[in-house]
Amino acid sequence: MKLRKSYFADVRKDDLHEIGQARPRSDSPGHVTGKTAFFADRNFPGMLHLKMVRSPHHHARIRSIDTSEAEKHPGVVRVLSAKDVPHNVYTILILIQIGPEDETVLADGKVRWKGEAVVAVLAETERAAQEAAAKVKVDYEVLPAVFDMEEALKPGAPIVNEYHGQNYYLYDSGECRKVRFGDVEGGFAGADHILEQSYQSSPIEHAPTETTGCVVAPEGNDRFTCYTNTQAMFFTLDNTSIILQMPGSKLHFVGGTVGGGFGGKVDVIVEPIAILGAKLTGRPVCFIYSREEEMQISSPRAAEKVVIKDGVMKDGRIVARKVTGYTDAGAYSRHSPYGAQKGAGHYPGPYTIPNVWIDTYCVYTNRTPSSAMRGFGITIGDFALEVQMDKLARLIGMDPLEFRFINAYRDGDMKAHRQPTEGAALIECMQEAARAASWPVAEKYMAMSSYKKGA
């Protein structure tokens, strides 16, 4: 890695002692000796293993659940279903008033994606829990499912989630989060070229080497200590407290080093049900996702569709940009309405465009609920934006990097969401990239600055 100190030297003091120094990591000696304690390295005598019985259907009504055979299975201590969960509502961002109460901890009456949790089995051994889980009988009435976002938005599509009543999240601004800046249609009318293109992604898994999980130990005083790899200790505490209708003072969460997160461990999925199991049995409980569960059950990065329509002038100026973004939330909201909204604040990208129109939708389909991942709300949008930039440059016969210089935002430029640009550095990054890659760029662009006189 090279630090290029010549850029922005005038706004930076390099007189620090500890900051800027490549000090050795304090956690690394524990890692290389195998001494670092991850949550699953805690083992308690008499610990029970929790295995989840999951929906084999994408969308179905639950006619009945029969756990009698499973309960009789040797080694089984307790079987949990929806009726056992004190407040069977899962909502991650309830404390900051984002996200609806559209999901249960254990399915109640319906399943809306293949893999949804229905019944939890607690047994003396993992094997006994697996065998008993296979004996849980759930009678399903299979319902039509919808997987494609465009299909889901059509009238008459199967309703994924009755809580919403339609297959999109209703923002206070309506069916989508909107940004309106300038006169986008006027911009298109005056443009030399119009280019409208569509971009698509599919769900992506965080794939941390350590799967999601927790180990719960009753402390013997009506308190429970939960060793967890959550990325957010108090999300977990607060949501567990609500779901289990337990005072927060009865809950103690211990995290520490997590074996990779990347956003995949922000959902509070395993802890409430494991603590409920510990509470109802009085025994320590571990609930650790299998690799298959991590891959297909834990929420992935959402699939997205992004449609970008641009008006561009022959001289390289983008004069109008319209973006319609669709985020595939899967069957439940989790963090997806937040992510789709984050996209609205990010478009039209790091460029100064006078006329902008943005609509971002959060769409429900019968698939694994998606949620946060590294670059949440933006990664796929950046793919779309920057491929579009390449296409636009080629459309007008301009070098793709020089085209970006022409449109790059600089200090003081007004963004579409009506914040003036501060601390811009896109131009300098592009200049240094041009140097590093020996990418020929005209001198006038190499002389540009993100600073703007009078800004």
Binding site: R4, E386, Q419
Partner: protein, 333 residues
């Protein structure tokens, strides 16, 4: 058979912290009787090195070596609230909270030292080595060890501080979308060079040259870790990753690391990392959040490089050999 070469560029920015703010983090700092400092948090270390960075921030602020700082975190019985480790917020939010707490602790420390040295606290400075000196008269000094002993056993002072950082929540205006998503943005530009086998659609990423502007590299080696790993993940997203290879069809989702594809140690691009630092106005020592954005620019850069190589656009991620081959065949017809 032809192996065709191309290169592509992409430039991006990325907001630091939870979108629209409203995401607080607290920190507590206190000294031990012998002049070490404890930072108490509930933030989670995901492997990015949160504990190490908070120690360096605290040490810098108080004016002691990093070795004198211990970070106790991710325990809800002891640590004050943190919203969590996500949205590139850890360093920025927790770092600011630690600075505030450390400043308050430092002030008490200097006051105790001033009493011991019989000077004004405003006349004192730290040497970064564990001593407090009188400005302009460095021969007049006291060790932080002695200051902490004095505070605890003689003067009954708690060398401690409380820190809290909160960006007030912004609410988007319904019709215009006027809002404040973030207070600072990191930047990046990547140039990727690829080879594409035009008979099989297979892509080899030869080089990626990444320039990242991240405010301030608080620990350059740890920044490098994030950026190198992120660059790999970006390439992985571009060419390999999906839990639903036939989306929107749900069949054939991978269930293990053989089926869920990511580049192996034999697939690595020659990776160059260049870092620029434009300190952010509200970041801890100017830092922004580099953790997420470093995995973004490679995706479009690789996509554009593939087009440059073979003249077909694959606008669906991941850009698999199959999608390239189908596009090449469509182009040939």
């Amino acid at each position: 058979m032809a192996i065709r070469r191309g290169r592509g560029v992409a430039a991006i920015n990325y907001p630091t912290g939870m979108n629209l703010g409203g995401d607080p983090t607290q920190a507590l700092v206190h000294s031990t009787p012998t002049g070490n400092f404890m930072v108490t948090l509930s933030s989670v270390d995901l492997g990015q090195g949160m504990k190490q960075i908070m120690a360096q921030i605290c040490a810098e602020t108080i004016g002691v070596p990093t070795d004198c700082v211990v970070v106790d975190t991710a325990d809800t019985d002891t640590g004050p609230h943190c919203m969590g480790t996500f949205a590139s917020r850890g360093t920025h939010r927790a770092g600011n909270a630690v600075i505030q707490a450390a400043k308050e602790a430092r002030q008490v420390m200097l006051e105790v030292a001033a009493e011991e040295l019989e000077v004004n606290a405003s006349d004192l400075e730290t040497d970064g080595q564990g001593n407090i000196l009188v400005k302009g008269a460095p021969q007049k000094s006291i060790s932080i060890f002695d200051v902490a002993l004095s505070a605890h056993f003689k003067r009954g002072r708690s060398i401690s501080g409380r820190g809290m950082f909160l960006i007030p929540r912004s609410y988007p205006e319904k019709e215009t979308g006027a809002m404040k998503p973030s207070t600072c943005y990191a930047h990046a530009c990547t140039v990727a060079e690829v080879e594409v086998d035009d008979e099989t659609g297979e892509v080899t990423v030869l080089t990626v040259k990444n320039v990242f502007e991240i405010g301030r590299a608080l620990n350059p080696k740890m920044v490098e870790q994030q950026l190198v790993g992120g660059s790999w993940m970006g390439i992985s997203h571009a060419l390999y990753e999906t839990t639903e290879p036939y989306y929107p069809n749900r069949d054939h989702g991978g269930t293990d690391f053989n089926q869920y594809l990511m580049p192996g140690p034999g697939d690595l691009a020659e990776t160059e990392i260049i870092v620029l630092e434009r300190p952010s106005a509200d970041g801890p020592y100017g830092a922004k959040g580099p953790g997420e954005m470093c995995a973004n620019p490679q995706i479009p850069a690789v996509a554009n490089a593939v087009f440059d190589a073979v003249g077909v656009r694959v606008d669906t991620l991941p850009i698999t050999p199959e999608r390239i081959l189908r596009a090449l065949k469509a182009q040939a017809n």
